[in-house]
């Protein structure tokens, strides 16, 4: 199978073609833009990139020819009455298969947009903008960022979002209302109230594409799994994980009990644990974890969008030092080196 890795970096988007054990790095696209996330829409092969620039702000670029030509979203911004301005675009999630042309976009400050015309125009999600708990949300080190958008594989009206540091929210009505879904997840930085309704610092949230109601999250204060659509969460960061802290998270679409994390020492020292880049895997829903060392010695950092996964159980991690590693069937391979600092990795099949 021909793989396509989409590697978003601080300085442009890199496409890497994979065929067997051969990797071919292409020239950077959207040079000069910081690509927080890029994704290939499996429904029509369109390429989307959350492109940001410190002068020109955040936007979304779309290409229907794998990056040869690009169109930019029109008038992407927040309504005046919100009193907020869009600071950056962060994560793009193609909508449910039953809703062609629909896409979701997460951004800063804690905002969500929906497009129903394949990313040309975007409407800000009103229920989230005016959420009753918004005043209790606090920005994390990367800002008040809506970085995770997880869809229910069966029910198009149900989705979850993750915001740092507001927590996980669930909608059962296609985004018309949002309920906090943080029961059991700790806000270890609030000693006076470590289990609040909102305010948790979720770092990455994913829903298993084959098993409805199973969610995973790498949180500031632990690794968690939910088997009831976010009603409750079970803490998993014992039994082999060197740290509860980390950002990256990956799943295996073919096995709902498999997950991957890349632990870091802690919030005050955000480098991979034990002086090595260890990709930790569980095959028993988080009961136990074991590492595969991608490279050692290494004091690497893999950001929250920095690990992608393919349909066959392969995972791909990109570091802040510009290296990309593949972990497939227990074997690690270096895919690319000396790229700009990597912000995101997504794995797709070559359309």
């Amino acid at each position: 199978m021909d793989l396509l890795l989409l590697v978003g970096t601080r300085k442009g988007l890199f496409l890497i073609r994979g065929s067997g054990n051969e990797w071919q790095l292409e020239e950077p696209l959207l040079a000069g833009w910081s690509i927080n996330h890029a994704v290939l829409d499996p429904r029509d092969g369109s390429l989307y990139a959350c492109a940001n620039n410190w002068v020109y702000g955040g936007t979304v670029h779309r290409s229907t020819d794998l990056g040869q030509t690009w169109e930019r979203a029109e008038a992407l911004g927040l309504p005046e009455e919100s009193g907020l301005k869009l600071a950056s675009t962060w994560h793009l999630e193609p909508g449910h298969p039953s809703q062609p042309g629909t896409l979701w976009l997460g951004g800063e400050p804690g905002v969500l947009f929906r497009s129903d015309d394949s990313g040309v125009t975007w409407i800000a999600n009103e229920a989230l903008l005016s959420h009753e708990t918004r005043e209790r949300w606090e920005p994390g080190a990367g800002g008040l960022v809506c970085h995770s958008i997880a869809l229910d594989p069966e029910n198009a009206d149900r989705l979850w979002i993750g915001i740092s540091a507001a927590g996980v929210f669930r909608s059962e009505d296609g985004g018309r209302s949002w309920q906090p879904a943080n029961a059991g997840t700790e806000a270890c930085f609030f000693p006076e109230d470590p289990f609040p309704e909102v305010g948790q610092c979720v770092h990455k949230l994913l829903a298993h594409p084959g098993r409805p109601e199973r969610l995973w999250q790498q949180n500031h204060c632990g690794v968690y799994r939910s088997d009831d659509a976010g009603e409750s969460w079970e803490r998993l960061d014992e039994n082999g994980l060197p740290s509860r802290f980390g950002f990256a998270l990956a799943l295996d679409p073919g096995d709902a009990d498999v997950a991957y994390v890349i632990p870091e020492v802690g919030p005050e020292n955000r480098v991979t644990s034990d002086g090595q880049l260890g990709i930790y895997r569980t095959g028993d829903a988080g009961a136990s974890w074991a590492p595969t060392v991608a490279v050692a010695p290494a004091w690497a950092a893999v950001l929250r969008e920095g690990m992608g996964f393919d349909a066959d159980g392969g995972v791909y991690a990109g570091t802040q030092s510009g290296f990309v590693y593949a972990l497939r069937e227990g074997q690690v391979a270096e895919v690319a080196r000396h790229l700009p600092p990597i912000l995101s990795v997504e794995a797709s099949t070559w359309p």
Binding site: A31, N36, N53, Y56, E74, G77, G142, G143, F247
Partner: protein
């Protein structure tokens, strides 16, 4: 209209545009990259600098000459702060300039004015040395208020940036706040002198204006030097 490289690459590499527009804002809005130059409220993004025929232009309503050349430049650093936060600073600056005018006008009725502000005795002593001294001292005081006012307006973005802007702003704030408290204000309140308490209150307000300007400038400085890292 001339575009920098990154914006030009968004429109197929075209760097120059001929536009029909009567104001700077209309010209920017007519660009195919308007959404990158302006934010969703229609304001120019803070790090985008607009030059018309070589002069920095901050007013989107400024009229354009028929052959004007607009150049968009990405700030290398600094940019401009949110000017709405500089409203107190602007008020403080104009308050000082008003005081300058007050001093100059008062020179016409100098002794009445000295009496009114309760410094007649001190001024008589000066006048005994030389009749011109009270007038010269008044002019010197007015000159200080003028400098204070110009620094205030400079911080508010209405004048070119003056040297040592932030430390001078902090100094002025401290001078006013001290006048309003330890150096007179508290004593005036204890003495129940209504007129002097009013002066102290004015000093307090102006001091707070300058302190607010100092704070906004300091925040901007922090933002320039420490951009948040994405994600981690």
């Amino acid at each position: 209209m001339l575009l920098p490289g990154l914006l030009a690459s968004e429109v197929g590499g075209q760097r120059e545009f001929e536009l029909d527009a009567t104001t700077v804002g209309a010209a920017l809005r007519a660009l195919p990259v308007a959404g990158l130059v302006l934010d969703e409220t229609g304001a120019v993004r803070p790090l985008v600098h607009v030059y018309v025929d070589g002069e920095r232009e901050r007013d989107l309503d400024a009229p354009l000459a028929p052959s004007a050349t607009i150049r968009i430049v990405a700030a290398i650093a600094g940019g401009s702060y949110d000017r709405s936060k500089m409203v107190p600073m602007r008020l403080g600056g104009w308050a000082n300039l008003t005081i300058v005018v007050g001093h100059l006008v008062a020179l016409g009725w100098a002794w009445t004015a000295f009496r009114w502000v309760d410094i007649e005795v001190e001024m008589r002593e000066l006048a005994d040395q030389s009749a011109a001294l009270p007038y010269l001292l008044t002019l010197l005081v007015a000159a200080f208020f003028l400098i204070f006012g110009l620094y205030g307006l400079s911080a508010a973005g209405d004048l070119r940036r003056l040297p040592l802007l932030r430390p001078v702003l902090g100094f002025i704030a401290v001078v006013y706040l001290l006048r309003a408290t330890l150096l007179g204000g508290i004593q005036d309140v204890l003495a129940g002198d209504v007129k002097q308490v009013m002066f102290a209150a004015i000093a307090l307000l102006i001091g707070l204006c300058y302190a607010s300007g100092f704070r906004t400038l300091s925040k901007q400085k922090r933002m320039d030097t420490a951009r948040p890292e994405p994600s981690s």
